[in-house]
Every structure is written in structure tokens, then in C-alpha cells.
């Protein structure tokens, strides 16, 4: 059983690609996210969402090498200490709470949790009398020189959503 799969970066599509022993294809992409920048008085750069997609329709038997491969891609992403990952899942998305908990377990078992910190915030807020629930996480490198600005912006999401 391989420890992890080798992967390639496709310059045309900006995706990381790998195929498992069961011939299941996965793609991983990082997209620039401007949510924190939009709530900050300081310019916030290098904040991304990671999107992982099993491209093949076939059902994948459990394969621990998939998780290790994704772990390795994300570990490489954090070689730039200024990079941060934001995760926001609203409750109207399918299985939001389950995904949030899976994301947490995945981080706790990752190989990079010694130098990357994850903070969570489940935000309850009200708009026009309706209550919403937002699952959020932020992952940042412990040596990120801009972390003060990033954390201020991340924390301000809840403050603004709960303002009158």
C-alpha cells in the first residue's frame, strides 16, 4: 500500500491532480478568498479556500493514502508562512456540521498541526428575524508575520454579523 500518491500540478487549470490505486481521480485547488480583506481596514492577502473534489463518479473504498496525499499538498501550501486557509460552511449547505467535524478531525491528524494553528468559530446570527448558523475555521502558519491583521479580520466577522 503506498504511503501517499504522487501528484502533479496542472499549469493550465491550476489544479493538483492524483489518481488512486482504484483509478479514482482527485483534484485539489486553492482559490483566493477576499472575505477577510472585505472586513479589514488593512489589506489582507494570501487567504485561500481549499477545494478538494473526487472527480470520478465511482465509489471509493476507504483509502488512507488519499488523506495523506491531501495532507502533503496542504503542508506544501504552508511552506509560504504568509498563506492562510479559511473555511466557511453555512448550514444551508449539505451536511455542514458533519463536514465541519470531519475537517476538525482531519486537522488533528495532520502532519502540519505542529506549525499551523486552527481556530474555529460557529457563528449564530440573525437577519430579518431569521436565525442563521455559520461554521467557520481559519488555519494559519505560526510564523505568519501578518497574523494580527488576519485574526482581527476573522474575529470581526462575528462582531459585524451580530451588530444591530
Amino acid at each position: 500500500m503506498p504511503n501517499r500518491y504522487s501528484y502533479t500540478f496542472n499549469e493550465d487549470t491550476s489544479t493538483y491532480n492524483f489518481t488512486t490505486k482504484n483509478n479514482i481521480e482527485y483534484k485539489v485547488v486553492f482559490i483566493i478568498d477576499e472575505t477577510l480583506d472585505s472586513v479589514s481596514e488593512n489589506a489582507i492577502e494570501n487567504v485561500y479556500q481549499v477545494i478538494i473534489e473526487k472527480v470520478s463518479d465511482a465509489i471509493e473504498p476507504f483509502d488512507s493514502a488519499v488523506g495523506r496525499t491531501i495532507d502533503n499538498i496542504i503542508k506544501s501550501f504552508f511552506e509560504n508562512a504568509q498563506n492562510s486557509l479559511i473555511y466557511i460552511c453555512s448550514e444551508d449547505e449539505e451536511k455542514a456540521e458533519i463536514r465541519f467535524n470531519v475537517f476538525d478531525r482531519w486537522y488533528l491528524n495532520s502532519t502540519f498541526n505542529k506549525f499551523v494553528t486552527k481556530i474555529d468559530n460557529v457563528i449564530n446570527f440573525e437577519v430579518n428575524g431569521e436565525t442563521y448558523l455559520l461554521y467557520t475555521s481559519l488555519l494559519y502558519h505560526n510564523d505568519n508575520p501578518n497574523i494580527e491583521y488576519v485574526l482581527t479580520a476573522y474575529n470581526s466577522i462575528e462582531e459585524v454579523l451580530n451588530s444591530k
Binding site: F30, I32, T35, V55, E79, S90
Partner: protein
Amino acid sequence: SITKMVADKTIVRSFLKGNTSIEAVTQKGIKFAKPL
């Protein structure tokens, strides 16, 4: 901003599946990260 973030995820997933073109993705202002 959060609504856009959720919508972007949906478009990118569709792109990764091959159901949406890269042009449609970039038209939405979605930018991809390059590796180191």
C-alpha cells in the same frame, strides 16, 4: 461576501468535474493560487 464564497465553491467544484469552463470561472472573478 460569504454568499459569493459559497457560490464560488460550487462553480469551482463544477469546473473540477469538467462541467464548467475555465472561462466561466474567471468571468466570476475567481482566482487560483499558484504553487511556490
